[in-house]
């Protein structure tokens, strides 16, 4: 479904990604694991189109997206939930969901504000509050809800567990399981490999801007590769 080949990423002149290759089948949850600075966020940013990647191939259901600007990638089904749950602090919860210009889908198939609120009942209660006043967990839910409002084929999650209390992390994990039930494909970038491996089908290990190893999630736990690339 999603296939990434030879992806190179740059911040200005500094070359950060050196030919990342990864793929995800429909309905699969793949994890992208690596240390701080290994290139996880950059990979997702290059996929979403917010960081320049002049070289590389990103194809989604056979469509080439690498040359498109970010707002068009979203319309083809790639939606990013940024790290640190960066929501629009000055907009209300509802406005945060409403500003998304979604991928067009047939009636009744897409995500609506109501459906997001059914999924996150807490958000319904906070509907009119400014997003800047939410707790970290609430903000993360809002960020995921906003990502879903795009009607993505592939949801890119950048460290959804970052900075959250263990209970909240667990809730986010439960949420990803539920989303998986709906058939959504997800790419999860994480430092917290225990959390990621609990939910992922497969995992890619990234180091120095290259994918060094990939394996089924079940085979990785306690493996030598994990030790080598994550230092755990």
């Amino acid at each position: 479904m999603l296939a990434v080949k030879d992806l190179h990423g740059y911040y200005g002149a500094s070359h950060v990604l050196h030919g990342v290759e990864l793929d995800a089948a429909a309905g699969e949850l793949v994890a992208l694991l690596g240390r701080n600075g290994a290139g996880k966020t950059t990979t997702l940013a290059c996929l979403a189109g917010t960081v320049a990647s002049p070289r590389g191939e990103v194809s989604l259901d056979g469509q080439q997206l690498a040359s498109l600007p970010s707002y068009q990638r979203l319309r083809h089904g790639l939606s990013l939930v940024p790290s640190g749950a960066r929501v629009f602090a000055n907009l209300s919860v509802e406005e945060n969901l409403r500003v998304v210009r979604p991928r067009p889908v047939s009636d009744g198939q897409g995500w609506t504000i109501d459906r997001v609120f059914d999924f996150f009942p807490t958000l319904r209660r906070l509907c009119a509050s400014a997003a800047g006043n939410l707790s970290g967990g609430e903000r993360q839910m809002l960020a995921v809800g906003r990502g879903l409002m795009a009607n993505p084929k592939v949801l890119l999650l950048d460290e959804p567990s970052e900075g959250l209390a263990p209970v909240v992390v667990q809730a986010i994990g439960g949420l990803m399981n539920e989303l998986k039930q709906t058939g959504l494909t997800m790419v999860l970038a994480e430092q917290n490999h225990r959390f990621a491996l609990r939910h992922a089908d497969r995992a890619f290990l990234i180091e120095k801007g290259r994918i060094q190893h990939s394996a089924a999630a079940g085979d990785l736990d306690g493996s030598e590769a994990l030790q080598r690339y994550l230092g755990v």
Partner: protein, 334 residues
């Protein structure tokens, strides 16, 4: 909820004061009031760019001047009544705003601002030097107003009604999903992009809307002054809405209106008693930027929060320390 209530109470009181003011004021004071009403529309139209979308334009006065000239030129060259000419003001300013916006928005941030400076001065020079059309530096004066609008009180009510219409339209637009999208862009252009928003198109729409209502305010000015002159288009005039917005507060719809009242009254009071208004203005601006960076609105809100019960409020937020684009923010932790 409570904030919406206090806001509507505030608007109701403002409307009442504005409606009853002519009963107490002399003619000179009526003219001060008219200039305040015009400045309120001018500054609010600018806040669509500055406060809502995060664009700093130095050309805004040019569209204000175009609005004023639309009325006076239609009167001089076409023999239109100023009332008919007024309809032309926002259309002409918006149309020229759209075309020049297309050019200016080829750049972003600082370079956008510099392009607007160039475009604004270009438009100023047209008004200044095309004597055949605009009578150049002499300006156009002594425009005949309809009889009904000649008494100061009537003219005041007419301008007040025009201001109310403009503010109502802008307020609806800024509260709509369109307004929310603009605020999303201001907060973070890149993030707005990966939510499927075509940022440039929205910026152009905001620019056009803002310039059209700058033209509206300019058209009002033509009634106030019964004329127009090139300095209206000059970039120094663009400072007026900037100062007004900074004083009132750029994070709320009411900010520029409150700023217009404060600046208008201050200017009247100071210029009657003291020679150097700009010295006073500079001091006031310095004090506000240093001690009340969100302007009067934010200052009052903060006071209310200290005095009132602890409620969840929006964070005070200034464009200066706004979050950097996503790329810069995420680079530190890949």
């Amino acid at each position: 909820m409570r904030r919406r209530l206090t806001a509507s109470t505030g608007w109701a009181i403002a409307a009442l004061v504005a409606l009853l003011a002519p009963l107490l004021l002399n003619e000179r004071q009526m003219f001060v009031l008219m200039s305040i009403v015009i400045l309120a529309v001018f500054a609010t139209s600018y806040n669509v760019l500055l406060g809502y979308t995060g664009m700093v334009s130095f050309a805004h006065a040019a569209y204000y001047g175009i609005g004023a000239y639309a009325v006076t030129l239609a009167w001089v060259h076409l023999g239109w009544s100023p009332l008919a000419g007024f309809l032309l003001a926002p259309v002409a300013a918006g149309a020229i705003g759209y075309v020049t916006g297309l050019v200016a928005l080829r750049a972003t941030r600082l370079y956008f601002s510099l392009l607007t400076l160039a475009i604004g001065q270009l438009l100023f020079l047209v008004a200044f030097q095309w004597r055949g059309l605009t009578r150049g530096d002499d300006g156009i004066f002594g425009m005949q107003l309809p009889l009904l609008l000649q008494p100061a009180t009537n003219r005041y009510y007419f301008l007040l009604a025009l201001a109310a219409i403009a503010l109502a339209i802008l307020s609806v637009a800024m509260r709509s999903p369109f307004g929310a999208t603009l605020r999303a862009i201001r907060e973070n252009r890149d993030r707005a992009g990966f939510l499927g928003i075509k940022v440039k198109r929205y910026e152009l729409a905001a620019f056009t809307l803002g310039t059209a209502f700058a033209g509206w305010a300019g058209g009002m000015y033509a009634f106030f002054d019964r004329g127009s002159f090139p300095l209206l288009l000059d970039w120094t005039t663009s400072a007026d809405p900037i100062f007004t917005t900074l004083i009132g507060g750029l994070n709320s719809f009411a900010g520029p209106v409150i700023g217009a009242v404060v600046l208008g009254l201050l200017r009247d009071f100071v210029t009657r008693n003291f020679l150097y208004f700009n010295v006073v203005l500079g001091t006031v601006l310095l004090a506000i930027i240093l001690f009340m960076p969100g302007g009067i609105v934010e200052g009052v809100r903060r006071l209310a929060a200290v005095g009132g019960p602890g409620r969840r409020r929006t964070q005070p937020e200034q464009p200066a320390d706004r979050e950097q684009p996503a790329a810069a923010g995420t680079r530190s932790k890949s």
